[in-house]
Assembly symmetry: C3
Homo-oligomer: 274 residues x 3
C-alpha cells in the first residue's frame, strides 16, 4: 500500500503549489521533481487563489513568513479547501515568535488542513503546550527517542481530534496520527538534522503524496515520511562509501528520492501500525 | 562563431543584472559565474535603475513575481533600454495565472527585449495563443519533438515580428528565431527537465552571452542554448559514469558549464541554420 | 586559541539569526549547521526583535535588501545591541547603488557592530572612500595581493577606530583588524570567488564564532576566516583528486566545514599576528 503511493505520484505527477520560505525553496522544488511531482511556487496575493486552483495540492510553510505572503497563505488555503484539494501546513518555528505562533493558529482556525507536519516542539506549540522552540531546525532536545511517552502521544491524538488533520511529527522516529490510528516510522538518519530543509522537503513531498489519488491521507503522509526517511538512510550509506560531509549528504538525499522505487521502499521502510 | 561568444564572455566577464525568482536564484548566480560572467541580483525599486545602469545586461524572470518586484522590473527594463543594454525576458509560468500573463504582456509592450526565452507553452501564451501551462517546469506535453510543426514555427516567427525580439523556445530541441532565420539546436538531455531552474539558468546565460560584445544577438542566444545544452549532455555522461540522481545531475550541469571550452563546444554542439 | 573557538561553536551550538539575501541564504543556513551552529532566518518587522532576542548573535547582510526587510534590520540590530549580542554586518554591494551605500552607512550609525566583513571595495566605500564596486562578488580588481599597501591598512584601521567594530576584509589574503592589532590570514583559494556566497557564508560563520563564548571578538573573526579559508583549501585538494567544476567545489567547501576539526585547523591555518 505505502509503496504504491510513490508509484501513483510518478504516474500522475501532481502539481504541488508551495507557499514556502526562501531558505529551502529550491530543495523543495527539486525534491518534488525527484519524487515525480511538479512544483509551482507562487506567493503573490493576486495569483495565490488561481495557482491553488490549477494545482492538485497546496503546501503552506511559514518559515520566513511575512506581511506580503501571509495573506496569500489564507487566500490559497481557502480556495484549495473549496476545491477539496489537500492542504499541508508546516508550522516552521512555531513558538519562536508571536507572529509565527499566531499565524499558525489562525491558519489552523480558518483552513482545513489535510496534514500538519512539524517537529515535536512546533507540534507542541500548535497543540497549545509550552513553547520550547529554539530555532527552525530539528536540532531540539525534544526529539522523540527510543520510548514514546504516553503524554506525547496523547497530545498528538488530541491535536488530531481538535483539527481533524493528520498529524505528522518528525524526529528520531516519525509519528503519523490519522483517524484510524498511529503509524510509527523508524526510518531516517540523525545526520538529516544537520541539513537545512529536510523538514520542509518532507512537507512538500507529503503534499505530493496526498495529491496522488489515494483517499487515505494518513497512509499517504506515512508513506511520504517512510519514503523520505528511507532516502535519508540510503543516502547515509552512500556517504559512508563515497565520503563527503553535510553538503554531499544533502545532495545524496535528493538523489535517493529521485532513484527511489517501490521495490526499494518495501525493502527499507519500517512502518509500524498501532 | 558560436564558440567564440563563450570566449568573449570569459574575457569580458559582463555584469548581468537579474530580477529573478527566489526558487532558482542561487543556481542562476552560480551558472553566471561558471560561464565567466558576474551576477548582481537586485530587485528593490529604489536601486533597480541604478543597478541596471552599471550592469551590461538585464534578465527579467517573472517566476515568484510579486507586488514589490514587478515595478522594479519595469524601471530596470526601461533604464536598460535607454542605455542600449540587452534585456532578456523569461516569462516563467505565463498562462498559469492572469497576473503572470498580464505582467509578461505589459513588459513586452513597454520594454524592448533583446531575447524572450520560454518553453513552448509560455511562448504560445505570449504569442496570444491558448494557455496550456500547467506549472513552471518544462514538463509539459508541448515539448517539441522530432518534427517541428509548421504551425509552431509560424507562431514563433510571428511573435518575432511583433516584438522585434529574438525568440528562444526550449524543449527537446531548442529553436532560436532571429531576424535572419532560425537556429535549431539539438543539444541537451531530457533529464534536464527533472531539475528545477534549467530554463532560468539558460535565460541568465543568454543575458551574459548577449552582453559579451557581439552585435548578432540571435547568434548569442543560439550559442547560449547550445553551450548549456552541451553542458547538459556532458553532465549526463558523467552521471552515467559516476552515478547519482537528479541532485548530482544538477551539480554536474553547472560543473560542465564551468569547465566548458570553445573546443568542447565545437565538438558537442549541434546547431542547424535554417 | 583560534582552533578552540571552533570547538566552542560545536559544543555550544549558538543560534544565529540572519537577515540575509535570498541568493545565498540556503548556503548560509547549511554552512552554519556544518560548523555546529543553528540558523534562524527571519526578516519580518513583526518578529525581528523577538527572534533577535532568542538568538545568540545576529548577521545583517544587505544583499537583496528591500523596503520590507530594511526596517527589520534596524529593529533586530537595536534589540541585539540592547541584549549585548554580537551583530555582524555584511555590506554586500555597498557602492553599487545609493540604496546599498546609504543603508550600510545608516546601519553603522545606528547599530554597534561587533564585526563588519566585506571585500576591499565594499570596505572602502564604508570607510568613505571612492566606490569601485562592480557587482556583489569578490571578483573585483582590488583584491589584496602579495603586498598590502600601507594606504589600505591605514584605511582599515581608521574604519576600526571610527566604528569600534572589528573589520574583516577578505580577498587573496584576509585581514582582521581588532583593538589589539591585525591578523593576516593566508588561507583560502582563488576559486572561492567563482562560487556565489562565499563571502556571505563567512559572515554567517563569523556570527557563529562571535557567539561561541569568547570575549575576544577579533580572535573569533580571525578564527572564522581561517577556518573557512582552510575549508576552501581542503576543498580544492578534493576537487583536484575527484574532479568536477565550480558546483562540486561549492559543495566540497561546505563538506570540509562540516568535517573540520581543531586538529585539521591547526595544521592548515596560516594566521599572522601583526
Amino acid at each position: 500500500m505505502f509503496a504504491d503511493i510513490l508509484e501513483k505520484v510518478r504516474t500522475n505527477s501532481p502539481l504541488v503549489h508551495c507557499i514556502t520560505n526562501y531558505v529551502t525553496v529550491n530543495d523543495c522544488a527539486n525534491v518534488l521533481l525527484a519524487c515525480g511531482a511538479s512544483p509551482v511556487m507562487a506567493d503573490d496575493e493576486r495569483e495565490a487563489e488561481e495557482i491553488a486552483s490549477i494545482a492538485s495540492s497546496l503546501v503552506i510553510n511559514i518559515g520566513t513568513l511575512n506581511s506580503r505572503t501571509i495573506p496569500s497563505m489564507f487566500k490559497a488555503g481557502k480556495r484549495a479547501n473549496e476545491l477539496g484539494h489537500p492542504v499541508i501546513l508546516d508550522p516552521v518555528g512555531a513558538g519562536a515568535s508571536v507572529l509565527r505562533t499566531s499565524t499558525a493558529m489562525d491558519l489552523i482556525r480558518e483552513i482545513d488542513f489535510a496534514v500538519i507536519r512539524g517537529n515535536i516542539s512546533e507540534i507542541t506549540v500548535i497543540a497549545g503546550g509550552e513553547s520550547k522552540t529554539r530555532g527552525v531546525d530539528a536540532s531540539d532536545p525534544w526529539l522523540l527517542d527510543g520510548d514514546l511517552s504516553e503524554d506525547v502521544i496523547s497530545m498528538i491524538l488530541e491535536l488530531r481530534e481538535k483539527t481533524g488533520s493528520v498529524i505528522t511529527v518528525t524526529g528520531a522516529k516519525d509519528i503519523v496520527a490519522g483517524e484510524k490510528g498511529l503509524y510509527i516510522i523508524r526510518n531516517g538518519h540523525p545526520m538529516m538534522s544537520r541539513v537545512t530543509g529536510t523538514g520542509c522537503m518532507l512537507s512538500a513531498i507529503t503534499g505530493a503524496f496526498c495529491a496522488a489519488g489515494t483517499s487515505d491521507l494518513a497512509a499517504a503522509a506515512a508513506s511520504a515520511a517512510a519514503m523520505f526517511g528511507s532516502a535519508g538512510e540510503l543516502a547515509f550509506k552512500r556517504l559512508t562509501l563515497c565520503g563527503g560531509g553535510t553538503s554531499a549528504y544533502r545532495s545524496y538525499i535528493i538523489d535517493e528520492v529521485s532513484n527511489m522505487t517501490s521495490e526499494k521502499m518495501k525493502e527499507v521502510m519500517k512502518i509500524e501500525v498501532r
